[in-house]
């Protein structure tokens, strides 16, 4: 449905027009010539998080061609033959060229998924001038879901596309519309597309793993923690299908973040629920998180294939092949195991119990759950101060030694603080929050890189120790040795950098920012 030329789209104002024939209002001597009535199947692709859309692009497969269309102009930026209609594909798997480059800019990690399929029926006429020369085409289009059971009703549009060199003769062309032109409203490509998407209900529509809860500082914290858990549980459920179908690694990633976020908040705000009634939930989250670890590890190492290969000289690169094929085999196994777990009894039971648990609106007994009735603002202030204190204390202690264990622990402290800040962000002035989040991000990136590199080194070390000697093991050992050297060097650089970043964070400025954030909350 992209354009090659400038097309004007018309949507009838109000109700369906009276049945009038197109072209009856044309100036004398002008006429319409019917070209065709045809059907086009449009398959809309985007990532689960609509990365293309957020980059101002629409991706459509039509008649064996995948078009990447600019949302504002409706013009195709890049095209690529695509004979099949894959359920999903990665940008990195399509041939080199502009299309691939544009899609990689949208997302290199997420798969582009067939999100909805719509049939477009078009009747086309040529608008002929006095010389019987075609000066424009008039199209009437209606959309229908390809799924016959779906009875969604879409808007219908007329459109006029002047031929090249005929843009200046628009006014007689407009008279080709069945109704006088003021019965219509001109709509942009974007508006038309958004209208279609609104009704088409594409897979994962409006999904975002980002937390945006609008909290009332005076409401009891019990109510808001329940809302948070409602959000995290919904994120987990939305991602289940993508995990089962193994569409891309981000479904599991978001699923795991939702688990961690739930656990972290429950643990940091203990006292919101009666521990006797909520301990099972904490344990359940912990268990669930653990069950995803192996699959996530396989995903992460497989995603590093290109990076690892690049780190090695060409002579050692092929030696990594057995390493990655083993990882692939392991991943298949872990994926099967976890999918089975999702479909089994334990997981759905856990989710049902969770939903029942958070559906209970009455406040628990203040004896066993002393925080429950307290205001969200005061709990937030206290919890954040406590978490910040921990980060600063651990960070300062890590200052001299910067040992692996300290940095690892500090990373977890930072995550805890970050989850609190994100949960309560609507209570704070946005500017100060953004500044704090930015500073925290720098610190977390550094610590994240450090821990990631350490974990990778451990993993590679264990692989090295287990390499069978009889399977071209020397080459692989050399390759892994090469990787370990590079990763080690990289990690030590990150470690050195830590001081600078932590000092930036552990400053008066940050202290003031936190004061700005929290002052006023505690008193409410």
């Amino acid at each position: 449905m992209g354009n090659t030329q400038e097309t004007l789209y018309f949507r009838i104002n109000g109700e369906t027009p009276l049945v009038q024939a197109a072209g009856q209002n044309l100036p004398s001597g002008w006429s319409l010539g019917k070209i065709s009535t045809r059907r086009e199947r449009l398959v809309f692709y985007d990532t689960f998080e609509e990365d293309a859309f957020r980059n101002g692009l629409v991706i459509i497969r039509k008649k064996g061609v995948l078009s990447i269309i600019d949302l504002e102009s409706g013009l195709a930026e890049a095209e690529l033959p695509l004979s099949q209609t894959p359920p999903s594909f990665f940008a990195s798997h399509i041939p080199e060229g502009k299309a691939r480059k544009r899609l990689l800019q949208c997302s290199s990690l997420r798969a582009f998924i067939n999100r909805c399929t719509i049939d477009r029926f078009i009747s086309s006429w040529r608008i002929l001038d006095l010389n019987e020369k075609t000066v424009a085409t008039l199209d009437y289009e209606s959309f229908h879901p390809a799924d016959k059971e779906n009875r969604s009703v879409f808007s219908r549009y007329y459109s006029i596309t002047p031929l090249k060199g005929y843009h200046k003769e628009l006014s007689p062309m407009l008279m080709a519309l069945p109704e006088p032109v003021d019965a219509y409203r001109i709509v942009s490509f974007k508006e038309r597309l958004m209208g279609i998407m609104e009704i088409a209900e594409p897979y994962g529509k409006g999904y975002s793993s980002k937390l945006h809860l609008q909290l009332d500082a005076n409401a009891p914290i019990h109510e808001n923690v329940r809302r948070l858990l409602q959000f995290t549980i919904s994120i987990m459920q939305i991602n289940e299908e993508g995990i089962r179908k193994d569409i891309d690694s981000e479904f599991l990633h978001d699923f795991r973040v939702a688990i961690r976020r739930s656990r972290s908040i429950l643990r940091q705000l203990n006292g919101v629920f009666d521990p006797e009634n909520s301990a099972w939930a904490l344990a359940g989250f912990r268990e669930l998180g653990k069950r995803t670890n192996d699959l996530r590890d396989s995903d992460v190492y497989l995603l590093r294939r290109e990076e690892y290969t690049r780190l090695l000289p060409p002579s050692l690169q092929p030696a990594l092949n057995p390493f990655f094929s083993d990882l692939e085999a392991e991943k298949r196994l872990h994926h099967k195991q976890f999918s089975r777990y999702l479909a089994g009894k334990e997981y759905p039971d856990f989710m049902t119990s969770l939903k029942e648990f958070i559906a209970k609106t009455e406040l628990p007994d203040p004896e066993t759950a002393p925080l429950a009735a307290m205001s969200t603002g005061s709990v937030a202030a206290k919890a954040i101060r406590k978490a910040l204190k921990k980060v600063l204390a651990h960070g300062r202690r890590a200052g001299s030694e910067t040992g692996n264990a300290e940095l690892h622990e500090l990373r977890i402290d930072c995550k805890k603080l970050r989850y609190l800040l994100e949960f309560f962000s609507s209570l704070f002035p946005p500017k100060a929050t953004n500044q704090i989040i930015r500073q925290m991000k720098a610190l977390q990136d550094n610590l994240g890189a450090f821990v990631d590199l350490s974990v990778q080194m451990e993993f590679l070390q264990s692989r090295l120790e287990a390499i069978p000697a009889d399977r071209g093991g020397i080459g692989e050992a050399a390759a892994i040795g090469g990787l370990l050297t590079s990763l080690y060097r990289e990690r030590e650089k990150v470690r050195e950098h830590f001081h600078e970043i932590f000092t930036g964070f552990d400053s008066n400025e940050t202290g003031d920012l936190f004061d700005e954030l929290l002052t006023g909350l505690a008193e409410e």
Partner: protein
């Protein structure tokens, strides 16, 4: 972009008919084609039912690139556009002689079109002037319709001589027999005589009233009567021409 000029010193030899039908055949989804009507009589513009906008004239044409691009119009046929001529083109020669390096003018003025078109056809007026020389320099192939008569053959030879005398590459000239009437002995003999001449293409276009009727249908013969003998001949001629310019 490959550039093909339909050219003859003589008029009424089937230049425009060839330009219209060959450009129609050249235009495909992967080969966008422009036909540039240089004849002030505007015959190819007429065949495609296109008139130039009122403000367009030879002066704009000589300004080149952008002025040209904004006056190009789409024909009724996919991927085929036309730059219409205007009566003011009758003065092109005088105006050209006043410009800097007139013989290279056309090449320079059409540079900008190379991104947009794979084939460019010139439908030239019947004379041998400064404009013709500019066309010769800008073209990869100068395609010359030749009626199989003694006079036409002589004019063709004159053109080859002109190229050789003026430092132009005469191997870019390709003649083809046009309006051939098999029942005429002279036609048969001349076609036979030139059958091995490297400057002549093998495919001839037969004389056909269908071609004359293009003035009524105002559309390429290959679009309206693709099965007719003349349309078939154009199709084969285009294949031969394409082979020639893509070697």
């Amino acid at each position: 972009m490959k550039t093909i000029a339909l050219y003859s010193i003589k008029g009424g030899v089937g230049k425009t008919a060839a330009a219209v039908n060959l450009s129609y055949l050249a235009a495909t989804p992967s080969t966008r084609t422009l036909i540039c009507d240089l004849d002030p009589q505007g015959a190819s513009s007429f065949y495609f039912r296109i008139t130039a906008s009122r403000k367009y004239n030879s002066e704009k044409f000589l300004k080149g690139n952008e002025k040209i691009a904004s006056n190009i119009k789409a024909t009724d046929f996919d991927k085929l556009d036309l730059l219409p001529s205007d009566l003011s083109y009758r003065n092109l020669d005088i105006e050209l002689s006043e410009s800097k390096s007139p013989k290279k003018k056309l090449t320079k003025n059409l540079e900008g079109l190379a991104d947009e078109y794979e084939y460019l056809f010139f439908d030239c007026p019947p004379n041998l002037t400064l404009l013709s020389e500019s066309v010769f320099r800008a073209s990869d192939l100068i395609l010359v319709p030749v009626i199989p008569t003694t006079l036409s053959i002589r004019t063709f030879s004159q053109l080859v001589d002109f190229f050789n005398d003026n430092g132009l590459d005469s191997s870019r000239i390709a003649g083809f027999f046009s309006m051939e009437e098999k029942r005429k002995t002279m036609h048969r003999e001349i076609v036979e005589e030139f059958s091995a001449n490297p400057a002549m293409l093998r495919q001839a276009i037969p004389y056909s009233s269908d071609v004359e009727k293009m003035g009524l249908t105002r559309a390429p013969l290959n679009a309206t009567h693709p099965k007719s003998p003349a349309a078939q001949a154009y199709k084969k001629l285009w294949e031969e021409v394409r082979g020639r310019i893509e070697l």
